[in-house]
Amino acid sequence: MLQIKQLHAGVEDKPILKGIDLTVRSGEVHAIMGPNGSGKSTLANVLAGRDGYDITSGQVLFDGEELLELDPEERAHQGLFMAFQYPVEIPGVSNSYFLRAAVNAKRQARGESEMDALEFMTFIKEKIKLLHLEGDLLTRSVNEGFSGGEKKRNEIFQMAVLEPRLCVLDETDSGLDIDALKTVADGVNALRSPERGFLVITHYQRLLNYIVPDFVHILMDGRIVKSGGKELAHELEAKGYGWIEEELAAGARG
């Protein structure tokens, strides 16, 4: 579903991603772990289409189509969703208005009829139940005055409503206490399905106790330096990132 080939990207002549290769198939959960500054968030933002990054070379295919040539909204229409590390507060726009606009934009782009207010409420109430959320979430302005946990829950809620096929979670665990972390992970697990792929970007192994990945990749200095199964995350937790650095250095000498 997602193929990243030799992706190089940076900001203002400063290279950050230095040749990423990664393939995510339907139904798979891939975790990308790495220390601060390794390029994790850059990868997420480049995939979602945020301005300000220069793609210097490489290719990203989403269902065989060139992802990097699409506008952010077109990527969303194709089924890509990024849960933000820092969800944005938008005073004056209610969550329900925002979500209905988003759902209808996607339906319109796919040549489907728009949902009217009543259809939408029925649809959205099911999602609220699925994720065990509070009903007043809908009437509140998007993320305005939300706690860190509420903001992240709202990201997962949007994900549930938009029904993407590929979900990119950018450090969704940052700033969460253990209860909020569990709630968010439960939400993600409820959305796992054979048709849906996940790219879970995180600094800590902690989140992966709750969202158990099929593959773990270690990102360092803009490259994936090691890939493995979920046991790789445990090894990292026990030994830290230093161990990988040493192993790489040894490999280079040896």
Partner: protein
């Protein structure tokens, strides 16, 4: 060679002629004298620095006086199904009014009492501005709106000011006095509108008092045509333990100047002065507000938001005076603008003068474009850039309208905001 910057006399002459044609009263005489002294201000006048009245000075006006008032179609301007006061060309149109509501007395013409006549001009001084003087000189009749003690009037007292445009440039001078007695509660919405094509000049004065424990919401809506010149003074004196929320909403007009002065004449008062300005094309809107905190323990909140497109220009000048005795004042002023075009202009001037030492006063002004992080957030959810911008601009302005308590008025202003932003 010297270049004369003096304004031509044609506008001034035509306006003084309108005044001279009316039967003399002490108010009109005093108004005319004050207006002759001040004349039409130019941009050299500090209070008119950014807003040029050249067109006003160069146009010859006649007094607006509609015929066939009963034939007008006013539905497009009316909002709420409640008491209604309609003024056409600055004069009350009894056939359009809906009165006789308990607790609300509306007096004009012969029904004005001697006390009413004393009140008119007692809150808004005749020479408060050159145009309050002009209104005093030229107004055809004042309307007294009295809310009885304890009266609760729903959904809103609606006042519609219509000016009928035509081949000749017309001027109208509506003048109101709102007298809210203690414990009265009401929303008062004043809409200004134009029918027809042509240059119009509305020079309005609304003054009023809000007595102890009264709760008044005042909404002024500028929906006049894009050939309309509009200069209005609203001046209100608020007594102890009352609350007053004012909203000034400007969508229409070619040139709109609002002076809003509120004097907090007691303790434990709450006062809100909010504004929404949405202008495009060559529209100009200039809001001058003045708030006087004269007694201790009063709160005031002021938020003005502007959305300016094309070559639109707006001015916000917000004065807050905290007098020596006004300890424990809590005053907060904010004004914000979003410029949608590189040729739109915002001139912003907060002006706080604080003479008491135990007060909380803050002010902030921002001028900018839409937040790029919010824009990206919406786009990443599938909303295209055009719609994302529209949502953010709407939300920016609607955040002020959301505070209007009267639901039909709020809904209508939100609908009109949406319509204006589509333009």
């Amino acid at each position: 060679m010297s270049v004369s910057l003096e304004a031509p006399a044609v506008g001034l002459d035509s306006l003084t002629q309108i005044a001279s044609a009316l039967p003399p009263t002490p108010l009109r005489a005093a108004g005319l004298e004050a207006f002759r002294r001040s004349g039409i201000p130019t941009t050299r006048h500090e209070e008119w620095k950014y807003t040029s009245l050249r067109e006003l000075a160069e146009t010859s006006f006649v007094a607006a006086s509609a015929t066939d008032v009963a034939q007008l179609d006013l539905d497009a301007w009316l909002i709420a199904d409640g008491p209604r006061i309609v003024l056409v060309d600055g004069q009350i149109a009894p056939e359009w009014c809906r009165l006789g509501i308990p607790g609300l007395d509306v007096r004009f013409g012969d029904r004005l009492t001697p006390t009413d006549r004393e009140r008119i001009g007692s809150v808004a001084a005749i020479d408060a501005t050159p145009f309050s003087a002009l209104n005093a000189a030229c107004h055809a009749e004042a309307v007294m709106i009295e809310l009885a003690r304890g009266a609760v009037i729903e959904p809103a007292i609606e006042i519609l000011h219509v000016t009928i445009a035509g081949a000749e440039a017309v001027a109208a001078f509506p003048r109101l006095f709102i007298l809210a007695h203690s414990e009265a509660e009401a929303t008062i919405v004043e809409t200004y509108a134009t029918i027809g094509e042509g240059v119009t000049f509305t020079c309005a004065v609304t003054e009023g008092t809000v007595a102890a424990n009264a709760h008044v919401e005042h909404v002024k809506v500028q929906r006049e045509s894009e050939q309309a010149l509009h200069i209005a003074l609203t001046e209100i004196r608020q007594e102890g333990d009352s609350s007053l929320n004012t909203f000034s909403v400007t969508y229409g007009g070619k040139l709109t100047r609002n002076d809003l002065n509120i004097f907090l004449n007691g303790s434990n008062l709450h006062c809100r002065m909010d504004g929404v300005v949405v202008q495009n094309g060559g529209q100009v809107c200039d809001n001058h507000t003045r708030l006087d905190h004269a007694f201790p323990h009063c709160d005031s909140f002021e938020v003005y938001k502007h959305v300016l497109d094309d070559q639109a220009m707006a001015v916000f000048n917000g004065k807050i005076f905290v007098h020596l005795d006004a300890q424990k004042t809590d005053a907060k002023q904010t004004n914000q603008a979003i410029l949608l075009s590189p040729s739109a202009t915002m001139n912003s001037k907060p002006q706080l003068e604080i003479f008491a030492d135990d007060v909380k006063c803050t002010h902030g002004a921002t001028v900018g474009q839409l937040r790029s992080d919010a824009l990206f957030y919406l786009r990443s959810r599938g909303i295209d850039e055009t719609q994302a911008r529209a949502i953010l601009v709407y939300a920016f302005a609607a955040e002020v309208l959301e505070k209007i308590e009267c639901e039909p008025v709020r809904n209508e202003l939100e609908r009109l905001l949406y319509e204006k932003l589509q333009a």
